[in-house]
């Protein structure tokens, strides 16, 4: 059973620890649309980050464009501050294959050259496909085949594990 408040508390605690260990100075927080932004809004408040939250839409950086095309709900990315030389906390809801984070990093680096980037996610699940991993997590879980994590929000932020019914 996943409890959203526990996940947020754990992620907040790990981020605080990592901010000290990695010597992050005046970090810029960026959330990945859509679920990552909902999580980032909460964490941004908890960590009392001064710069406004950055919003990243990775549609144009996805590696499956030729299969799924342009998401018509694409919205402009909004990075409120210069990225050059900044310490960045990237936030997403679920870490699964790692492909979203790859796309997000590519996009961030097109805005400038950050000093360092750390990755925080609410949930890390099994199924990684590329050699990337989060620095801070609310929880790590293993799902059965056909199960997936569904986040709804922004308020109230809620999470559930869905089991997809497979047609016989």
């Amino acid at each position: 059973m996943l409890v959203i408040a526990d996940l947020l508390n754990q992620l907040e605690a790990e981020l605080k620890k990592t901010i000290i260990e990695r010597h992050l100075v005046n970090p810029l927080m960026i959330g990945v649309r859509t679920g990552g932004v909902w999580v980032a809004e909460q964490i941004h408040q908890r960590l009392q980050i001064t710069d406004p939250l950055g919003l990243l839409d990775i549609t144009f950086y996805r590696d499956d464009f030729s299969q799924i095309g342009v998401n018509p709900n694409v919205r402009p990315s909004q990075l409120p501050a210069q990225v050059d030389g900044r310490d960045i906390i990237l936030i997403d809801d679920v870490f699964y294959t790692g492909r979203t984070v790859r796309a997000a990093l590519n996009e961030i680096f097109d805005y400038g050259r950050p000093n360092q980037v750390i990755l925080g996610v609410l949930i890390e699940r099994d199924g990684r496909e590329i050699p990337l991993s989060p620095d801070c997590v609310g929880a790590s879980i293993t799902l059965n085949k056909g199960q997936r994590i569904k986040l709804t929000g922004p308020t109230p932020l809620a999470i559930e594990i869905q089991t997809l019914t497979v047609a016989a």
């Binding site: 144009f60 095309g69 990315s77 097109d110």
Partner: protein
């Protein structure tokens, strides 16, 4: 011309040849996707990897500066490889047929053609003849259509006026020769603009122009009243084969947009022009460079809208 050819089996954009036959939802989707490309100018590296490894050929059988360069820039910002060919340097001047030119380019593994041609229907013809994986974008065909220009105009209008449902739009000038006007009228009607007026001398209007869904006026002063958007058209002297006008100065006196005449429109009306401008013929410099002019904004928006259309036409290329 029915353009179901433009959509694949899932109703997604495959070719972009004409506004005609495209549903409102699709036009709105193009405008929405373009919105996100406008924001890209904040990036240090003004490029997204969407069309990496794709090859786009700009086939311009007719002169153009703005359209060709914005298509080229749009393709490059999508990371495509782009080749711009113009008629003067191509082998068509040595007698090669259009179809042979296309077959040869296909043999070079091209993914998209952007076509401008003086003959109406040229882009349509290429879309019908070309290999199934190739997308074709119409960058202006004869007096038929210039749909990407119309879409960048719609984008500019929405950017400033927010809604289409409460607008009065006037299109002024050489409607007869204007593929831009035809596409604009179709787009404005599809997107739900309640009143589109065309204002021109009788000699510069096509027969039965009302059937396009516009009201007609031959009097600029009357036509400009309470208008939100003023679209000026260029007098296309190169396409005029007979004497349609007494003189340019006479035309300017009757149909040229001056500061004085612009006051008849709503105070917050915007002035648009697809370019190139004939200063002192259809528009006074003071208006073209004035505070209500959005002419250069149209040019900038041309890049984002062409990026959106190219990206959308290249998705799921294999699906027919």
């Amino acid at each position: 011309m029915k353009d179901n050819l433009q959509l694949n089996s899932e109703g997604k954009l495959k070719h972009f040849l004409s506004i005609e036959g495209l549903p409102k939802e699709l036009l709105t989707e193009i405008l929405d996707v373009a919105e996100s490309f406008v924001g890209m100018t904040d990036q240090q590296i003004k490029k997204v990897p969407l069309l990496r490894g794709k090859t786009i050929v700009n086939l311009f059988f007719e002169n153009s500066t703005r359209t060709r360069t914005t298509f080229e820039l749009a393709a490059k910002r999508l990371s495509a490889d782009v080749l711009s060919m113009s008629i003067a340097t191509s082998s068509t001047s040595k007698g090669e047929s259009l179809l042979d030119t296309i077959r040869n380019l296909e043999a070079m593994f091209v993914d998209m053609f952007v076509v401008r041609h003086a003959i109406s229907g040229a882009a349509h013809f290429i879309a019908q003849q070309t290999a199934p994986h190739i997308s074709v974008i119409n960058a202006g065909d004869g007096q038929h259509a210039h749909p990407t220009q119309a879409m960048l105009d719609m984008f500019t209008i929405r950017q400033i006026k927010k809604e289409f449902s409460n607008l009065r739009v006037a299109i002024i000038g050489d409607i007869l020769h204007s593929r831009v006007a035809r596409s604009q009228i179709q787009a404005l009607n599809t997107l739900g603009v309640p009143e589109v007026r065309v204002i021109a001398p009788k000699t510069l209007l096509p027969a039965h122009v009302e059937s396009l869904g516009v009201s007609v006026s031959h009097d600029l002063n009357a036509g400009l009243k309470d208008v939100d958007v003023v679209i000026m058209l260029r007098l296309q002297k190169e396409r005029m084969t007979s004497a349609l006008l007494p003189s340019e100065s006479e035309y300017f006196k009757c149909f040229g947009l001056t500061e004085e005449k612009l006051k008849i429109a709503k105070p917050d009306a915007i002035v648009m022009h697809p370019g190139p401008i004939n200063r002192g013929v259809e528009i006074e410099s003071k208006v073209a460079d004035g505070p209500q002019s959005v002419i250069l904004k149209q040019v900038s928006n041309g890049i984002a809208i062409r990026m959106a259309i190219m990206a959308m036409a290249m998705q799921k290329q294999g699906v027919m």
